[in-house]
């Protein structure tokens, strides 16, 4: 979903160097440190926003999902174990909150300019930008579990192990979801490549 520019651009890709900082922040949060919580909130806000928006496809849900996610982080920071990446833990919470929000909101897709079904336009008449827009709409029409795999792979640069931890599923499921997502997008991608 493309939205008007109101803030300076932020990086969509997680900064892996922040892993130690995140772990320290969670330790401080577990001791009730509000300043550490605010810093973590600011560090994760945009990444969570993009992730939740892509998983749900519904912008009106996203801010609530982020706050529900971060409320869990605040309350359960003591349960975080340093063995796993903090980002994996937080994104896992956000993913589950996103699915719950979708369930509450009704799982059927709400057509918007960003998520409406593909127009039955003949591929010959589409230029490159049209095809790219069609691909974005096709991704938005994937099931949320598949969208999450695509989002975490291409936007958050997560490994398949990390994705499996976030989505709480086996690695094989991650690979099969990616396979299925690519299969659905293949005709459009072939158009884009001129195959």
């Amino acid at each position: 979903m493309r939205l008007p520019n109101v803030h300076p651009p932020l990086h969509a890709v997680p900064a892996r160097d922040d892993a130690a900082t995140d772990g320290d922040s969670l330790s401080a949060i577990a001791n009730g440190d509000r300043a550490a919580f605010e810093q973590l909130y600011r560090r994760y806000y945009e990444r969570l926003f993009r992730f939740c928006l892509r998983v749900t496809g519904r912008i009106h849900l996203v801010e609530d999902i982020i706050n529900e996610t971060m409320l869990v982080v605040w309350r359960r920071a003591a349960q975080y174990r340093a063995g796993a990446a903090a980002s994996t833990w937080i994104f896992g919470i956000a993913y589950r909150k996103s699915l719950k929000a979708l369930k509450r909101d009704g799982r059927a897709r709400v057509p918007t300019d960003a998520t409406s079904a593909l127009e039955p336009t003949a591929p010959d008449t589409l230029d490159r930008e049209d095809v790219q827009a069609a691909i974005r709409r096709a991704v938005a029409d994937l099931p949320p579990e598949h969208r999450a795999v695509v989002e975490l792979t291409f936007h958050s640069n997560c490994s398949y192990d990390e994705i499996a931890q976030i989505l709480d599923c086996p690695v094989g499921t991650v690979k099969s979801r990616m396979f299925n997502a690519r299969a659905k997008l293949r005709p459009l991608l072939a158009d884009l490549l001129g195959d």
Binding site: V6, H7, P8, M178
Partner: protein, 196 residues
């Protein structure tokens, strides 16, 4: 696993080869496949096109500060407090209590009631007493019936009704004597024990 399956399994790693997160051993396998396999190269081009199409650097129309302030008001709420659920639970409990209470007290208001095996019109009688049904003539009332029974412990339980039916209660030990006495009187048309 044959060579085709091997190649297919390696092609499935391409998304993570492209985002640079594959372990070294798998990265080498993908690199070797790309050197020889046209299909893997085609899929790699597809993935790059996909990434280019969906990676979106557009900034977001959202006010983080406002959302953070909204969340901060909730941080001190007691953990696990779910007022809505508790309210629903309390309402359900109150409703159940009211229904149960009204059913219970309705029973008390009505008074004694009986199961289907005990006729509602028949008061409970101790086990060591016998019920005797008597059909009487029109001019026999309860007082006369008791005098005809001739037993100080006998009681008229029901009747005589407009159809001349009455029920006596007598101690079981005296029942045979009382029935014999009643059977001798011509004003009583029928005397018999009531099965219990």
């Amino acid at each position: 696993m044959n060579a085709f399956d091997d190649r297919q399994a390696i092609r499935e790693l391409l998304p993570w080869y492209e985002n640079g997160t594959l372990p070294e051993r798998e990265r080498e396998a993908v690199r070797a496949l790309l050197a020889t396999d046209l299909e893997a190269n085609r899929q790699r081009r597809e993935l790059r096109a996909l990434r280019e199409a969906i990676v979106d650097d557009t900034t977001l129309a959202t006010d983080m500060a406002v959302n953070l302030r909204a969340l901060q008001t909730r941080l001190d709420a007691p953990v696990g407090a779910k007022p809505n659920r508790l309210r629903w639970f309390a309402c359900a409990a109150a409703l159940l209590l009211a229904l149960g209470g009204s059913t219970f007290f309705a029973g008390l208001r009505v008074g004694t009631y009986h199961t289907l095996s005990t006729p509602a019109a028949t008061p409970l009688v101790p086990a060591d007493f016998e019920l005797i049904r008597v059909d009487v003539a029109r001019n026999v009332d309860a007082t006369l019936l008791l005098s005809l029974a001739g037993d100080p412990q006998a009681r008229v339980l029901l009747g005589p009704s407009e159809h001349g039916v009455a029920t006596l209660v007598v101690p079981r030990d005296h029942a045979a004597v009382v029935m014999a006495r009643l059977n001798r009187d011509p004003r009583l048309r029928f005397v018999a024990p009531v099965p219990r």
